[in-house]
């Protein structure tokens, strides 16, 4: 130990002062060395107002990332007038919002508390130990965010565009960044909408269209559902437990129930949502909903229960198909042709006054070439002829009489009858045949004429938020995208075409991006624009983990230091969603044109950077020619970013966003819904747009152009006989620490057994387990060949599981970031059991190339 210590016991005051003077400590004795505090008044007791804070402020906000509904509400803020400190307390509803009707949900409330999550990342982190992985100490140092961003920019310069992967949803900033750098954008999140998005693109919306807005694609929908005025709905596994908590949907289902709408549910799980809103619940074998849908098509077409006028005027039902090529016949100008009953010849579909929809084959000659053609409705009729209710009953284990009854009731309620689908229901990216089910659903909704009709599938209209490219057109075309992207989207021309030429924000292929990262050497740098879900929202994260270990650069922009941190070189702190302004349209109840805005509740308490600012910095540094109005790279000529100002000005609502927010941040035009108007404006063949039931693009890649029966990817085999169903607790969103790092939500989850896997009594008996036992779930090694990671979980035995051949898993728990106080190492991870897909296998089953996240059988054994 240093000398002088033994002496200092006897230190005189003089010695002491002398000593501290020589060491410099005395400096603080003459004038106070302020560091983070500053004097505003001389020292002394200054009187203050009494109450510590007042609740006078309510700040408009719009939910995001908690679900796709995006309710508008107010955040109630307590303010201390003395120190100007503020704290959000809770939410209050906004009754004028057509989505939320003045309500919000538990997740919205939890967002208020997550602003103050002690594990929020407040500084940028930089790794000093290059060795990545869960077992290596990254040697993090704190770095100024600005410096970190500059270092990242320098690092990115070392890579070719095809070596960089941006993992991000397609917001306007990411899109522009990825396009200007010429790098692949693929997202671990958006695929949960993917099947819906692509099928909707191919049948309904044909992007880009006049309402193609910079906020519609993150949730990948332009079609909402007018539950409130519906008379009949069929839910194919639509009633997931996660939907039990979505206020922006619940309020409408409540209205439907009050108005006497009949809701028929097919689901192997009896959810509280079905308890509340279903009129009839039928158990169904997982992955066989398609059979029921095909049989319904059969009945409705055979018995001519369809909406004739709608089919003739607004769909491709009368359009002619060449029976040889199985492609539609088109005029030179590209218009569909119909067979005229009066003139007995083919005419452009919009010209023909009396098109036939059934019958044929008809013979026609174009340019001396002979064709044998049939109208599309007849083509579908022929295709589904074999799909009788009896046949469907054998496959689905739903009674034949039920299928017949439901099909007829559904058709008779037209056009107020529809089948809604969002994401994780049976028509989501769940099975290898889900894209066909999704297609069948759009056809069924078309047969009733519910599309673009009140009480049916309502379409976004008369609102538009521009993209960055609409504000300032790039001076030259963006560079080519990588020819062989790491998510293999080039192997799926149907969706690649949409992504490349129509909507760059279209969902990526995360069902294969992990495969690509692991199996190829294409990628060297990964930039996660992490929507706070970590790696463990992904399927087979173990494959991504292994691949990230070999990356040269991994960057994560995140609200938390989460599991991606094990592999990141930099983690950049992001603001909480309530610390950002919002501007939104009302996609999930688009009955009326409406804009809604939100203001930041507070300044971020740290060195955070918003995504827009970060993207602009990188863009200006690495692709300045695309980020300046004249391509000069001059920082004073940066492209404009004020998309909301333009939207408001163009609509004549306000001259800018500030003015709009001052007026309350809400605008709606409650005019009557004009049935079948929007489909003309956004559908195929516009200006006389139509719904397409027949998809040429599928035929071009050797799939049937209309839905046909197809099995799941593989069957149950031996002990691997439990079909994996996945849902979420109503108060949890993916692996988002905003919710799973909340100790109260964890408690609510546990009290409701949603940290367990659910099986029914019969299954429990068969495998010999009791309530609360620990079990191990394992994949069949034939189908998950690499990096298996069995899952250990507690079992809950419940009669809500209607079948003994299923097991229900809860998504979003089992986070691996141990630094998260509550979330770290709690529960199990469903994703560990879902294989990343070999694109060559996917290609054989699914032209959209989506994830098939529930197409898995597992074994269950007592641990």
């Amino acid at each position: 130990m240093a000398d002088g210590i033994s002496k200092n016991k006897d230190l005189t005051r003089r010695d002491f002062l002398k000593f501290v003077a020589t060491t410099g400590a005395i400096a603080s004795l003459s004038s106070f060395p302020f560091k983070n505090l500053e004097a505003q008044a001389p020292f002394g007791k200054h009187p203050q107002e009494k109450p510590i804070y007042q609740i006078k402020k309510k700040i408009p906000q719009v939910c995001a990332r908690a679900c796709e509904a995006d309710c508008a509400y107010y955040v109630i803020v307590a303010h201390d007038p003395v120190t100007n400190l503020e704290r959000a307390i809770t939410l209050e509803g906004r009754p004028e919002d057509p989505v939320s009707n003045g309500k919000f949900c538990i997740k919205g409330l939890a967002f208020v508390d997550s602003i103050y999550d002690p594990d929020r990342l407040m500084v940028a982190l930089k790794r000093t130990n290059p060795k990545k992985g869960t077992d290596n100490d990254p040697g993090w140092v704190t770095i100024k965010t600005e410096d970190a961003v500059n270092e990242i920019i320098q690092s990115l310069k070392k890579f070719k565009p095809e070596e960089i992967l941006m993992c991000s949803p397609g917001d306007p900033y990411t899109n522009k960044l990825a396009r200007s750098l010429g790098v692949t954008r693929s997202d671990q999140r958006t695929e949960c909408f993917g099947t819906h998005y692509y099928i909707n693109c191919l049948t309904l919306t044909n992007p880009p269209n006049k309402y193609y807005s910079s906020t519609y694609t993150p949730s990948h929908h332009v079609a909402g559902y007018d539950y409130d005025n519906a008379k009949y709905q069929i839910w194919f596994g639509f009633d997931s437990l996660s939907k039990c908590g979505k206020a922006g949907m619940l309020v409408h289902w409540k209205n439907a129930k009050k108005n006497g709408c009949k809701v028929v549910v097919f689901n192997p799980l009896r959810t509280p949502l079905a308890d509340a809103f279903a009129t009839e619940i039928y158990s169904i074998k997982p992955g066989t909903d398609l059979a029921v849908a095909l049989a319904m098509m059969n009945i409705i077409i055979k018995d001519k229960l369809y909406n004739v006028k709608f089919l003739k005027d607004y769909t491709d039902a009368p359009a002619l198909v060449d029976m040889k090529t199985k492609l539609t016949i088109k005029t030179k100008e590209g218009a569909l042709m119909a067979w005229c009953e009066t003139h007995k010849k083919a005419e452009p579909i919009d010209v023909c006054h009396k098109p036939v929809m059934e019958g044929g084959p008809y013979k026609l000659t174009i340019d001396n070439k002979e064709y044998e053609v049939k109208p599309i409705l007849q083509y579908i009729k022929d295709t589904v002829k074999a799909y009788t209710p009896e046949w469907a009953s054998k496959i689905s284990e739903v009674k034949e009489s039920v299928i017949i009854k439901v099909a007829k009731e559904f058709a008779n309620a037209k056009p107020y009858a529809f089948i809604p689908t969002y994401k994780r229901d049976a028509a989501g990216p769940n099975y290898a045949n889900s894209w066909r089910l999704r297609h069948a659903i759009n056809i069924l909704n078309t047969l009733t004429g519910s599309i673009d009709h009140e009480g049916g599938v309502i379409l976004l209209h008369d609102v538009k938020i521009p993209w960055l490219e609409d504000l300032a057109k790039p001076v030259k075309p963006y560079p080519e995208q990588p020819k062989e992207p790491v998510d293999f989207r080039n192997m799926f021309p149907v969706t690649d075409e949409i992504y490349k030429n129509k909507d760059f924000s279209a969902p990526g292929h995360y069902g294969m991006v992990g495969w690509g990262l692991y199996k190829t050497q294409k990628t060297k740098a990964v930039f996660f624009r992490n929507p706070y879900r970590g790696l463990y929202a992904m399927i087979q994260p173990q494959m991504v983990e292994a691949s990230l270990e070999k990356m040269d650069l991994v960057v994560d922009w995140n609200l938390y230091l989460d599991d991606i941190g094990y592999w990141s070189d930099y983690v950049i702190p992001a603001p909480h969603q309530f610390e950002e302004g919002k501007f939104d349209i009302r996609l999930y109840y688009p009955k009326w044109p409406c804009y809604v805005g939100g203001s930041p509740v507070q300044k971020s308490p740290g060195d955070q950077i918003g995504w827009g600012s970060l993207a602009v910095k990188i863009g200006m540094a690495l692709a300045p020619e695309y980020w300046t109005t004249d391509g000069s790279g001059d920082p004073n000529k940066r492209v404009p970013l004020n998309m909301s100002d333009h939207a408001l000005k163009n609509a004549g609502i306000a001259s800018n966003t500030a003015e709009f927010m001052n007026k309350g941040g809400f605008w709606i035009n409650k005019k009557k819904y004009e049935n079948y108007k929007t489909i003309r404006e956004i559908g195929y063949g516009r200006p006389n747009g139509r719904v397409r039931m027949f998809i040429d693009e599928f035929k071009k890649v050797d799939f049937e152009p209309v839905p046909v029966w197809a099995q799941r990817w593989h069957d149950a085999k031996g002990e691997y006989k439990f079909s994996m169903l996945i849902t979420r607790a109503p108060w949890i969103m993916h692996a988002d620490p905003n919710f799973i790092n909340n100790p109260v939500l964890r408690k609510i989850t546990e009290k409701n057994y949603m940290d367990c896997v659910w099986i029914n009594q019969e299954a429990a008996k068969e495998i010999g387990v009791k309530e609360g036992d620990m079990v191990v779930l394992e994949n069949n090694p034939e189908f998950l060949k690499e990096l298996p990671r069995p899952v250990k979980a507690k079992v809950h035995i419940t009669n809500r599981m209607l079948r003994k051949d299923c097991v229900l898993l809860f998504h979003g728990i089992g986070h691996r970031a141990k630094n998260l106080k509550v979330a770290g190492n709690w529960g199990y991870r469903d994703g560990d059991l879902i294989p990343q897909k070999d694109p060559n296998i996917v290609k054989k089953h699914d032209p959209t190339g989506m994830g098939w996240v529930e197409d898995v059988y597992v074994s269950i054994k007592k641990a």
């Binding site: 509803g93 538990i106 309020v251 109503p730 108060w731 408690k747 609510i748 009290k751």
Partner: protein, 234 residues
């Protein structure tokens, strides 16, 4: 004076627990909830949704056994709880036939819903009722709420839990089938004994209660206005 009650139609409840969380934020009782203590909680049980919360009995056992008058039956319905007075003896925990009061070992006090009396005084509904996304939880004047409960029960063949349990309560929970199946405790039934009280008694009430009555009146007025407006719209 008028009395107030809560109606929970479980056939509109999805178990989302927005009510529970809103309640926690109202009372800033996050720490207690983390330890499993909730004023109100919805359990998603196999047989239905179990709302565990104070029933606000007409003739509450908890009030009778509380040695320090920390619990009191208000004239307008709710069984009020005064944390300052509570000595943590847990007599109420043992006495409550519905097993509602929960003992918080950390604060050595109990935790129980008081029907958001402070909000009612400010002309607001209880936090849970305001937040419920589907309107499964409704608050209002006892007579009207009971009338509504009976009407729904008759129309949709539901059972009213809380109507005659413990000789009547101010909480009516509508269930499909037996409430026991959903998790509600089988409590001895009796003929409801409603205390006769009148609006004249306001003068004798403490200031807080006076404020509450003022608030209730305003709430009634507001609800009436909204109903009228809606009627006009139709």
């Amino acid at each position: 004076m008028k009395t107030y009650a809560i109606l929970i139609d479980t056939s509109y409840c999805t178990g989302c627990n927005t009510c529970s969380y809103r309640c926690i934020q109202e009372f800033r009782s996050h720490t207690q909830a983390t330890n499993g203590l909730f004023r109100t909680f919805v359990a998603i049980n196999d047989g239905g949704l179990y709302h565990k919360r104070c029933m606000h009995c007409f003739d509450p056992e908890c009030v009778k056994v509380c040695p320090v008058n920390a619990l009191s039956k208000s004239e307008y319905g709710p069984v009020l709880y005064d944390q300052e007075k509570c000595i943590g003896c847990q007599s109420c925990v043992k006495a409550c036939p519905f097993s509602i009061p929960q003992y918080d070992e950390k604060t050595q006090k109990i935790l129980k819903c008081s029907l958001c009396a402070h909000r009612i005084a400010e002309n607001k509904e209880p936090a849970c009722a305001e937040a419920c996304p589907t309107g499964a939880i409704q608050f209002g004047e006892s007579k009207a709420i009971l009338g509504k409960a009976k009407e729904i029960a008759k129309k949709r063949k539901m059972t009213i839990y809380g109507l005659s349990e413990a000789s009547g309560t101010h909480t009516y929970i509508l269930t499909i089938g037996s409430p026991k199946k959903a998790g509600y405790i089988d409590v001895k039934k009796g003929v409801p004994k409603i205390k006769k009280s009148s609006i004249e008694s306001i003068g004798a009430m403490p200031i807080v209660a006076g404020a509450i009555i003022g608030g209730l009146k305003k709430l009634e007025e507001r609800k009436r206005k909204i109903a009228e407006e809606n009627k006009n719209k139709d």
